[in-house]
Amino acid sequence: MFTKADYMTVAISRMLVDNETVFHGVSSPIPMCAINLARKTHAKNLIYVNIPGGVNGNMPKYERTSTAGSDLLEGANSYFPLSEVFDLSMRGKLDVAFLSGIQFDNKGNVNASVIGDYKKPKVRLPGGAGSAVLIPTAKKPIIWRTKHDKRTFVEKCDFITTKGNLHAIVTPLCIFKMKNGEIYLDKLMPDVTLEDVLKNTGFMVKYEKVEHMEEPTKEEIRWLNMIDPSRVREMEFS
């Protein structure tokens, strides 16, 4: 049996293409695992960068409290910190950035800022971190979110922290992609029905055909359990 986190991690890993330069930021256990899985399987020459600046460091093996700590420097072959990753993206040379948010709509708008009014918010959210500059500039911005419900996938975002240019949105239910400025359903997770997605999405879901993501392979799961034996990838679901 696979968990939702297994599916999301494998789905994201498969989106990464060999030789791409890939960045994740804070609070990012699933992208961190997915990048390291891809480095072990189909994309051995990924260039993995992160906030502390360790390029191609080792995946830490113990229980994690931060995905921005200096332990990501262990085993790294060079130092290239956050400010430089941003600069790289501004120059158009960052391939993949992982970002998240709390509301998404069918135009590819992302809200990581507030629920309600910006100046007098009902709920103040953590903020978009790098999103507002990375989503417009990275070649393949990938959103992941472990909640998929009508409060997350909404008709209209309360606030637009950033927008457009999304390569994919990965959730426990499905993978969305973008075409002509609109979100569409690309693939369902293996254990999910179309009905599940429709009833948990606040906007009208467009799709051309209904396909499921292929189940994780034995090799993927073997490597995933090897790089992440303490199942850090499950943390976002607790």
Partner: protein, 273 residues
């Protein structure tokens, strides 16, 4: 004159209403002993600057010390959830949240570090943050006529940076990730180094390139062993889970006072040298 000063005196000199930048990132190497002393001394109306804040911003919010926070992100990471004291203060109108992209904080500090009043930021397009905040404005490049968003410079009155090693002159070395601390030391009017330990001045002489913040930028040095506790300090200690949890259970100022009291011996340890 010695730059070494005890933590109480260093905090006494922090003026109410000042703009104060903190080093570190989320749960990593935040100057927590200094933050705790700010709360004990009940500083008020501080304008906090940080790319990605966590417990530092949250505790200053609970303690009623901050009235604005310029940051790209304020939260604990996955394991410890959201920075609820900060959120509550913003939602109740006690703190003005000046949301940035982390990069626009960096750009604003870069502007201050080179003595100009703004910095163009290429990537910030299509965001509601531009209209919602008065520190973002558009300019037209005089050479190409391209339009750019710019961010207003941020020049902290003072910045507080926790490091693992510093000599008595203020030459400071950060082990592991430096985050935006080196930049912040160049952008601020006054620099306070909080150090795990004082090292001999010969330590850096065989390789001066290992100094991240040179003495010419440093105004004061506070010795504070385990000063980032319960946050992590690379090569010294990790996040202290039980103390994090006891802090996160605090719901009111009385409990915060008790929590701070219990850490006094630890925070004042550097004064007994």
């Amino acid at each position: 004159m010695s730059k070494i000063i005890d933590i109480k005196k260093a905090v006494e000199q922090i003026q109410n209403n000042s703009t104060i930048g903190f080093g570190g990132n989320t749960l990593n190497r935040a100057p927590m002993s200094f933050v705790r002393e700010i709360v004990r001394q009940q500083k008020r109306n501080l304008h906090v600057i940080k790319t990605a804040g966590g417990m530092d911003v949250d505790m200053l919010s609970l303690g009623g010390c901050a009235t604005s926070v310029d940051a790209g992100f304020v939260s604990y990471e996955t394991k410890y959830g959201l920075a609820n004291n900060y959120r509550k203060a913003v939602q109740e109108g006690r703190i003005k949240a000046n949301e940035h992209a982390c990069y626009t904080v960096i750009s604003a500090l870069r502007a201050a570090s080179i003595g100009v009043s703004f910095m163009p930021v290429k990537g910030l397009v299509g965001s509601d943050l531009i209209e919602a905040n008065d520190y973002f404005k558009e300019v037209v490049c005089p050479f190409t006529q391209n339009r750019y968003t710019t961010v207003k410079a941020i020049e902290p009155d003072v910045c507080v940076i926790h490091v693992q090693e510093c000599d008595k002159h203020g030459n400071a070395k950060i082990l592991g990730a430096k985050y935006d601390d080196v930049l912040m030391s160049r952008a601020s009017k006054k620099v306070i180094i909080v150090t795990e330990q004082l090292v001999l001045e010969n330590k850096f002489k065989n390789d001066p390139t290992q100094v991240d913040i040179p003495q010419l930028l440093v105004d004061e040095i506070v010795v504070s062993p385990q000063g980032a506790f319960p946050n992590a300090c690379y090569k010294k200690y990790g996040v202290n889970d039980s103390n994090m949890k006891s802090y996160l259970n605090i719901r009111n100022l009385d409990d915060l006072t008790k929590y701070l009291k219990a850490l006094e011996i630890r925070d004042y340890a550097g004064m007994r040298r």
